[in-house]
């Protein structure tokens, strides 16, 4: 065989991208072990760090599932948060009725999400382009309003979950250990999902999915009934996202229709694009960046505004510069900065964080 040597073998295995991926995953995975140290060093409260980062992990799982259909399949689903809601409501409703076993709750959450994805996908994938965006949005709104109308489960106000899923006592569901245990569980699920997505997108199935994204008609002309493959990917993504929803309900110990609101679906798309579409680890970076911005952008802005105030005061004197508090209050409006960052990413860094890493590696 001449020239079968793929270029991949000639490239060094340890690229900048791979190095960053390993470091990020290691930092995430080891957090429970160095978090106490962070607290003693006065950097961040241990439990706060774990809580924020658990949320990052769970939404990274959801973003990974969206990435499968959006990044690799080119399907702009604007209703992906609905599966978070389905997974969450499965756990919440079962818990509400006293069925607390995670071995029942989780499989059911996944199954239910998959079934809904099958129905939604079978109808939505008949449409193209912007109509697809809108029909997935419509189905998500449909289920959102089901949640709003569910009086027995709190309707608009949602439902508090009194006990987390019980995994036959294997994972502590109360006491101080439960935060660490749940963090480790979420991390393990994320790693599993990353592995699964990696295998999927490189398998024969994945090649069809990516081919259909690139040129659906050509794939049909090659003999692939692409609808089935896209639908299968849609169902897998829904199932994984349902799993994320089940985890999220456990994490917040609360469910409400707001989990499914269309802006949550928008957040997921933002995470995927921010991290880099069609890269396995992209959604993890995206979820990290998005949630850390959400969490720390106000603080960061306060810092910058504080400097600006002091600087202005030094130049033009105390009086005209105004009170420091007035300046710092501007940090409440951090979403303006977030929106601007988003627009800047769309206009100037379309490949997301992962491709920036790739560029840095080459440079």
């Amino acid at each position: 065989m001449p020239a079968v040597t793929s270029l991949g073998l000639l490239r060094p295995i340890m690229t900048w991208r791979v190095a960053v991926a390993i470091v990020v995953l290691a930092l995430l995975g080891l957090l429970p072990w160095y978090a106490p140290w962070l607290e003693t060093a006065g950097i961040i409260n241990q439990r706060f760090a774990l809580t924020v980062m658990t949320r990052v992990l769970i939404l990274a799982i959801a973003a990974c599932s969206l990435n499968l259909i959006l990044g690799y399949g080119g399907m702009v689903s604007f209703g992906h948060a609905v599966y978070i809601g389905l997974g969450g409501y499965t756990v919440g409703i079962l818990a509400h009725h006293g069925l607390g076993s995670g071995f029942v709750q989780f499989p059911l959450a996944i199954l239910l999400s998959a079934l809904f994805a099958l129905a939604i996908g079978a109808l939505s994938l008949r449409t193209r382009g912007v109509y697809f965006i809108m029909i997935t949005l419509a189905f998500a709104q449909l289920l959102y309003f089901v949640g709003v109308g569910l009086e027995p489960y709190g309707a608009d106000d949602g439902l508090t979950i009194n006990r987390r899923s019980d995994f036959a006592g294997l994972i502590p569901d109360r006491g101080p250990d439960k935060f660490v245990a749940f963090y480790v569980l979420s991390f393990a699920v994320l790693v599993l999902v990353l592995g699964l997505v990696h295998r999927l997108v490189n398998s024969r199935f994945g090649m069809v999915l990516r081919g259909a994204r690139s040129n659906d008609l050509r794939m049909q002309a090659l003999g692939f009934p692409t609808f089935r493959y896209r639908l299968a990917a849609f169902v897998i993504a829904g199932a994984i996202c349902g799993l994320a929803g089940a985890l999220l309900a456990n994490h917040t110990e609360f469910i409400s229709p707001a989990m499914m609101h269309w802006t949550r679906s928008g957040d997921l798309i933002v995470m995927v694009v921010l991290g880099g579409m069609g890269s396995v680890l992209g959604p993890v970076y995206g979820a990290l960046a998005f949630l850390l911005l959400e969490e720390f952008l106000p603080g960061l802005l306060r810092l910058v505004l504080g400097w600006l105030h002091d600087g202005t005061a030094a130049v033009i004197g105390r009086g005209p510069a105004g009170a420091l508090d007035d300046w710092l209050r501007l940090a409440e409006y951090w979403q303006i900065a977030l929106g601007a960052i988003l627009i800047a990413v769309v206009l100037h860094a379309r490949g997301g964080i992962d491709s920036l890493l790739g560029r840095a590696g080459r440079g």
Binding site: P2, A3, F205, M207, S214, L217, Q220, A221, A232
Partner: protein, 250 residues
Amino acid sequence: MAEALLQIDSLVKRFGGLVATDSLSLDVQPGEVHALIGPNGAGKTTLIAQLSGFLKPDSGRVIFDRQDITGLPAAARVRLGLARSFQITSVLRDFSALDNVALAEQARQGHSFRFWRPARRDPALRNPGMLALEEVGLADRADTPAASLSHGEQRQLEVAMALGSDPRLLLLDEPMAGMGPEESVSMVALLRRLRGKRTMLLIEHDMDAVFALADRITVLVYGRAIATGTPAEIRANREVRTAYLGDTEV
């Protein structure tokens, strides 16, 4: 006359008031290269789209190997052995040349609900893919992204992909469109190598190529076949000369 491989039976396709295919009947015999010529707007590409399942005819039938395939979706037709290439190059641009032909091979091997093994390291796909690239002379470009291939190379890849499903009938929609003279020569050479091995329905504007390759030629004008015959017969046909060839001096 032997049983036709493809039989088109009074096919009609209208777009609003325009009749793109006007009760067209046509047959393709096994082993022949059948060329379809006609001025722009004669309905050639519309016909290919109906034959390959991308457009539904308003009436009429398409029979392939004694089976009525008129209502069959595109992918199912490919699996019966009817493959097409596109007039506007439509290789998968994000993929390498080898990926493109490997996908054709993958389609041939049956369903792709295989979720685990990496497809790019599967010799069952890569080796036949390399052979297909060698057949069209692209072996040394295997790892080049399809988007970076020259136009002529993309056209060759296009044909290699259509061949990948090992079709019994190949529908070629202007394989030489947009090619320079040198590229055309190598495409004609490629098609000549395939001649006798594959049955082909060829749409082409390049008359030199058509008359060099075709066993039979059908002339299409306004969606209707005005003549079918050997190249010599077509050359001699007065109706054809006035309707179409009149000013091209063949």
